[in-house]
C-alpha cells in the first residue's frame, strides 16, 4: 500500500461539539459503504474548518466562506465523487451567506454540514449571525438558515441535528448523504455544536431542542406546514431539530451535464470527437 498522509489529531478543545460531528460523520460514511477515495471533503475556515484534516479522504481547505462554490465546482467537474462540504456558522451564514442562497437555488447533489456554535470560535468568540441579540453587545437578530431554505422553492433537504443527540444526528447524516448520493440535490444539515470555550450553549440547547421527527403535527414534506410549524416552535423559544423539509427538485449537475457523458475531469482530451468539434467551430468563423 502506498503511504499517504496520516489524518491529523483534532485541534478542538476538550468538550467541543465538533468531535461528535466528526465521529458521527465517519460512522455514517462507513454505514453507506462509501469508498474513502471517492470522498471529496471540503471545509471552510474556522475551528469547524479543520475537520477534513482528521479523516482519510481527498480533503480540501477552502477560503473563508467559499466552501460551497468550491464544492459545486467539484461536483460539476466530477459528479461521480461523493462531495461533502463543512464549515462554521460564520463561514456559511456571514461571509458565505450569498453562496448559501444560491446553492439552495441551484440544488447540486452534495452534502453541506454547518457546525453552528453561534459564535466565531477560531477568532475567539465574536458574535456570528446565529448569536442572539445582546450576545457580547451583538446588535442584530439571529437568523435561522432552515427558514431561509424553506423560503426558496428549490430546496430539497433541510435538517438540523444536535451534537448532544448523536444517534439522531447519525440518522440525519445518513439520510443527507443518501439524498446527495442518489442525485436528488442539495442536502443541508445544520448541527448545533456548542463551543465550550467561548459560548457554552450545551445545556441551554439540550433543554430547548424540539424533535420534529417525533412530532405528529409536523409534516416535513409540506413546505407550508414545515414553515409555519418551525416558526411556531421558534416562537416558543424552542429550536426545531430533525428532518425539517424533504422535497424534490431537479439537481444542478443533471441540468449542467449531459446524461451518460464522461465527466469533465475524466475525459480523453485528445479524442477524435473533440478534434472534429474544434474544426467545426473554427469553420463557423470562415466565410
Amino acid at each position: 500500500m502506498t503511504k499517504t498522509f496520516s489524518p491529523a489529531r483534532p485541534i478542538w478543545c476538550a468538550g467541543c461539539g465538533d468531535f461528535a460531528v466528526q465521529g458521527v460523520l465517519e460512522k455514517s460514511l462507513d454505514s453507506l459503504n462509501i469508498p474513502r477515495e471517492q470522498l471529496m471533503f471540503l471545509a471552510g475556515i474556522g475551528c469547524s474548518g479543520t475537520i477534513q484534516n482528521n479523516i482519510k479522504c481527498y480533503g480540501y481547505h477552502a477560503l473563508h466562506g467559499r466552501v460551497l462554490p468550491t464544492a459545486i465546482g467539484v461536483k460539476l467537474a466530477n459528479p461521480n465523487l461523493t462531495v461533502v462540504a463543512a464549515g462554521g456558522d460564520g463561514d456559511g451564514y456571514a461571509i458565505g451567506a450569498g453562496h448559501l442562497v444560491h446553492t439552495f437555488r441551484s440544488n447540486p447533489s452534495l452534502t453541506y454540514i454547518v457546525m453552528n456554535n453561534s459564535n466565531y470560535g477560531l477568532t475567539k468568540g465574536q458574535p456570528s449571525p446565529t448569536s442572539p441579540l445582546g450576545y457580547k453587545s451583538n446588535a442584530e437578530m439571529d437568523m435561522d438558515a432552515i427558514l431561509l431554505g424553506l423560503s426558496l422553492p428549490s430546496t430539497t433537504f433541510l435538517a438540523r441535528g444536535f451534537s448532544g443527540h448523536p444517534e439522531q444526528l447519525g440518522q440525519l447524516l445518513v439520510a443527507a448523504l443518501k439524498h446527495a448520493e442518489e442525485g436528488k440535490g442539495f442536502a443541508f444539515i445544520e448541527v448545533l455544536s456548542p463551543c465550550v470555550t467561548y459560548y457554552d450553549t450545551h445545556r441551554e440547547w439540550a433543554s430547548r431542542v424540539h424533535n420534529v421527527d417525533e412530532d405528529p403535527d409536523y409534516n416535513c414534506t409540506d413546505r407550508g406546514n414545515a414553515f409555519s410549524k418551525s416558526l411556531e416552535i421558534l416562537n416558543n423559544h424552542k429550536i426545531p431539530i430533525g428532518l425539517l423539509y424533504h422535497g424534490e427538485h431537479v439537481s444542478l449537475e443533471s441540468l449542467s451535464l449531459k446524461e451518460d457523458c464522461i465527466p469533465p475531469a475524466l475525459q480523453d482530451l485528445n479524442s477524435p470527437d473533440s478534434v472534429e468539434n474544434c474544426k467545426k467551430i473554427i469553420q463557423s468563423f470562415m466565410g
Binding site: 498522509f5 467539484v74 467537474a77 466530477n78 450569498g98 473533440s274 466565410g287
Partner: protein, 606 residues
C-alpha cells in the same frame, strides 16, 4: 479617397465609420460590412466605441478593409456614415479633404459649414424613408447599407447574399424586409449616380478568402478548449462576457461546463473546485471582478491549483469606463494578492495570438500548477479581425505530473506537495485509490498538513516560487519586428500591436528606422527585454494607463530607465498610428528624419 467617376483605383486601405445613437445598429452595419469585405478577400479590422447602456448616447463602429495585414484602425476616416447630427460633430476630426460623408438628413439637412471644405456629401432621409415605407426605423440601416456598398463599389448580388446568410435565421419576414430596404438603398444610390459597379474602387472578388473573422475573446475561448479546457466560470462583465457566452455555446459539445455564477468570488472558487478534480479550468473577468478574485488567485498560488485567469482590461479604477480599453491592471496581475505566490502572465497581441496563448496558458497552468493570466484589453477582446485559420496540429495537451492508480501502486509514499527536482509535485485525481491528499492554502508540509515550522515554511515558499524560474525557458517569447540594429525601439502589448507596426511603417517612410518587441510574456520578465533595450538608444513603451505600468515593471526588472520613454493614453480612445508617428517624429527631428523615402519596405518579423 478618390472622387467618384474618375478612373477607379484598386482598393488598398479603406476606413469606414458608422455613427449614431446607441441601439441604432451601427455595430450591425459594421459587422456586416466586415464580413462582406472579408468575403471579397480583404483583411479587416473593426473597432467599437459604445457606451455602457443599451439605447442612446453616441455610438460609433469602425471597419477597416486592407489588402495587407492591419490590426488597428487607420489614422483617417475615408467614409463617415452619420446617422444623425451628433455623428457629424463627433467625427469630423477624423476626416480629411478626401473623405466622403453619407448623412441621414431625417432630422434636418446639414447646415452650411458643418463639414470641412472639400468633403463630398451624400445626404438622404434614410430614417424617414424607412418609417414611411417599412414602418420600422430599424430598416434604415439596410437602406443606408445599399448606398454605402454602391459607393465603395461592391456588387449588389454579394450584398444580397450576405443579407440572406445573416438574416435568414431571424425568419423570412425579417429577411424579406431587409432585402426590400436594401433595394430602396440601391434606388437612392441610383439617384446619386452611384450605379452598380460605378463606385469608388475597382473591387474584384479574390479567390476563396481563407480567413477567420473573429474576436480575441472568441479566440481565447477556443484556444482554451483545444488545450483541454473543460470548465469555465464567470460573472457577466464588459468586455469579458463573450468568453462566457461562447463557452456556454461550445463547452457542452465537449462534455464541459461553462457556469454563470452569482459573483466573481463564487466564480474563482468554483473553478478551483473543478480544478481539484483534475479538470482544466478558466475564469474570465474585467477590473471590478478581477479585484474580487484576488483572494482566490493567491489561494490557487499557495495551494498549487492550476487555473487560467483572463483579465479583459477596461478603463478603471472602480467601474471606470466599462466599454473603454485600458491596460491598467498590469500591476494587479503581477503584484496583486496578499503574500508571495508564483504566477505567469501572458499577453497576446491579436486574435491569432489569443488562440495559441490561451492554449499555452492552459497547458502552463496544468504543468506548473499555478495561476496563469491572459492579459487582454477591451480592443483585443472585442474587436473583430481577420486571421489565418487556427492550426490544431500546433497544440498538444500537456499531461502534467499526474499519477493514476497504477502509478500510485508502484510508489511507497505519495505526497501531494512532495519536493522534487523541478519543484513540481505529483497530482492524483480525487477518486483514484491510494492518492489521499490534503489541499490547502494554509502553509503546509509535503502531505498537505498545516504547518508553521520555520524550515518547512522556507522550503515550501522556495519550492513554489522556483517553479517560475523553471518555467522561464518555456514561456512564449516576444515577437521582434525590424532588423535589430535600429536605434529607436518600441515595446508594447495587446492592442498596441497593430498601431505600433503601422507607425513604424510611417516612420520608416520618413527615414526613421525603428524596431519593435511585442511582448507575449510579461511575468516573469524574460531576458529578451533587457537584451532588446540594450540594443536601442531609446525605447518607447506604448501602453494604455495613466502611470506607465508596463514601463515601470520593466525598469523594476532592470531595464535602463534612462532609455525608457513612456507613451501613455487613458482617455478611452485607441491610439491611431499617426499619434505615435507624430510623437516620435517630434522627438527625433534632429536625425535624418523628415524626408520621405521612396522605397517602402515593410517591417518584417524575424
Amino acid at each position: 479617397m478618390t472622387p467618384v467617376n474618375g478612373t477607379q483605383p484598386v482598393l488598398e486601405d479603406l476606413n469606414v465609420i458608422v455613427a449614431g445613437q446607441g441601439g441604432d445598429g451601427s455595430l450591425t452595419v459594421v459587422t456586416l460590412l466586415a464580413e462582406l469585405m472579408r468575403d471579397y478577400g480583404f483583411n479587416v479590422y473593426t473597432e467599437r466605441d459604445v457606451l455602457s447602456r443599451i439605447r442612446g448616447g453616441h455610438t460609433a463602429a469602425t471597419v477597416r478593409a486592407f489588402s495587407g495585414d492591419r490590426y488597428c484602425i487607420g489614422s483617417n476616416i475615408d467614409l463617415l456614415v452619420a446617422l444623425d447630427d451628433e455623428a457629424i460633430e463627433k467625427n469630423t476630426r477624423h476626416l480629411d479633404g478626401n473623405s466622403i460623408v453619407i448623412f441621414d438628413e431625417s432630422g434636418g439637412k446639414l447646415t452650411n459649414g458643418s463639414l470641412p471644405k472639400g468633403i463630398k456629401l451624400y445626404s438622404a432621409p434614410f430614417n424617414r424613408i424607412a418609417m414611411r415605407t417599412m414602418r420600422r426605423e430599424l430598416y434604415r440601416n439596410s437602406i443606408a447599407f445599399g448606398v454605402v456598398s454602391r459607393l465603395i463599389g461592391l456588387e449588389d448580388e454579394a450584398l444580397k447574399k450576405i443579407f440572406k446568410k445573416r438574416f435568414a435565421r431571424l425568419g423570412t419576414t425579417v429577411l424579406d424586409y431587409n432585402l426590400e430596404a436594401l433595394d430602396l438603398g440601391f434606388g437612392i444610390a441610383d439617384e446619386f449616380g452611384l450605379t452598380n459597379g460605378a463606385g469608388l474602387y475597382k473591387i474584384k472578388k479574390k479567390k476563396a478568402a481563407n480567413k477567420l473573422l473573429i474576436t480575441g475573446n472568441e479566440s481565447v475561448a477556443l484556444g482554451f478548449i483545444v488545450a483541454g479546457g473543460r470548465f469555465y466560470a464567470g460573472y457577466p462583465i464588459t468586455p469579458s462576457s463573450e468568453i462566457l457566452e461562447s463557452l456556454q455555446k461550445w463547452l457542452p459539445m465537449f462534455g464541459g461546463v461553462a457556469r454563470q455564477t452569482e459573483d466573481e468570488l463564487s466564480g474563482i472558487n468554483m473553478a478551483m473546485g473543478a480544478a481539484l478534480t483534475g479538470a482544466r479550468v478558466m475564469v474570465g473577468t474585467s477590473g471590478p471582478g478581477f479585484s474580487l478574485m484576488q483572494e482566490g488567485i493567491g489561494h490557487a498560488g499557495s495551494a498549487e491549483i492550476p487555473i487560467v485567469i483572463v483579465d479583459c482590461q477596461r478603463a478603471g479604477p472602480s467601474t471606470g469606463m466599462p466599454t473603454k480599453p485600458e491596460q491598467s491592471d498590469i500591476n494587479l496581475m503581477i503584484f496583486g494578492g496578499h503574500g508571495d505566490f508564483p504566477r505567469i502572465v501572458l499577453a497576446p497581441g491579436h486574435p491569432e495570438d489569443c488562440f495559441y496563448l490561451a492554449a499555452e496558458a492552459t497547458n502552463l497552468a496544468f504543468k506548473y500548477q499555478c495561476p496563469v493570466y491572459i492579459s487582454m484589453d477591451q480592443g483585443l477582446s472585442q474587436n473583430i479581425a481577420t486571421v489565418d485559420p487556427f492550426d490544431l496540429e500546433k497544440i498538444e495537451v500537456d499531461e502534467g505530473y499526474q499519477l493514476d492508480a497504477e502509478d500510485l501502486k508502484k510508489l511507497d509514499v505519495y505526497k501531494r506537495y512532495a519536493h522534487t527536482e523541478n519543484d513540481i509535485s505529483p497530482f492524483a485525481k480525487p477518486g483514484t485509490p491510494g492518492g489521499f491528499s490534503l489541499v490547502t492554502g494554509n502553509e503546509h508540509d509535503e502531505w498537505g498538513l498545516v504547518s508553521t515550522d520555520p524550515d518547512n515554511r522556507v522550503q515550501m515558499m522556495k519550492k513554489r516560487m522556483n517553479k517560475i524560474e523553471h518555467a522561464k525557458e518555456h514561456l512564449p517569447e516576444a515577437r521582434h519586428f525590424g532588423n535589430g540594429d535600429e536605434k529607436i525601439g518600441f515595446i508594447g502589448i495587446g492592442m498596441t500591436y497593430g498601431v505600433i507596426l503601422e507607425a513604424m511603417e510611417q516612420l520608416e517612410a520618413y527615414g526613421v528606422d525603428t524596431q519593435f518587441l511585442q511582448l507575449r510574456t510579461i511575468w516573469p520578465v524574460l531576458d529578451e527585454v533587457n537584451e532588446f533595450i540594450n540594443r536601442c538608444d531609446k525605447v518607447y513603451v506604448v501602453e494604455y494607463n495613466a502611470v506607465g505600468q508596463l514601463a515601470h515593471l520593466l525598469m523594476h526588472q532592470g531595464a535602463d530607465s534612462g532609455k525608457i520613454i513612456k507613451i501613455i493614453k487613458y482617455d478611452g480612445i485607441p491610439f491611431r498610428p499617426r499619434e505615435i508617428y507624430n510623437r516620435v517624429m517630434e522627438e527625433n527631428k534632429s536625425n535624418n528624419a523628415g524626408k520621405k523615402k521612396t522605397k517602402k519596405k515593410r517591417a518584417n518579423s524575424k
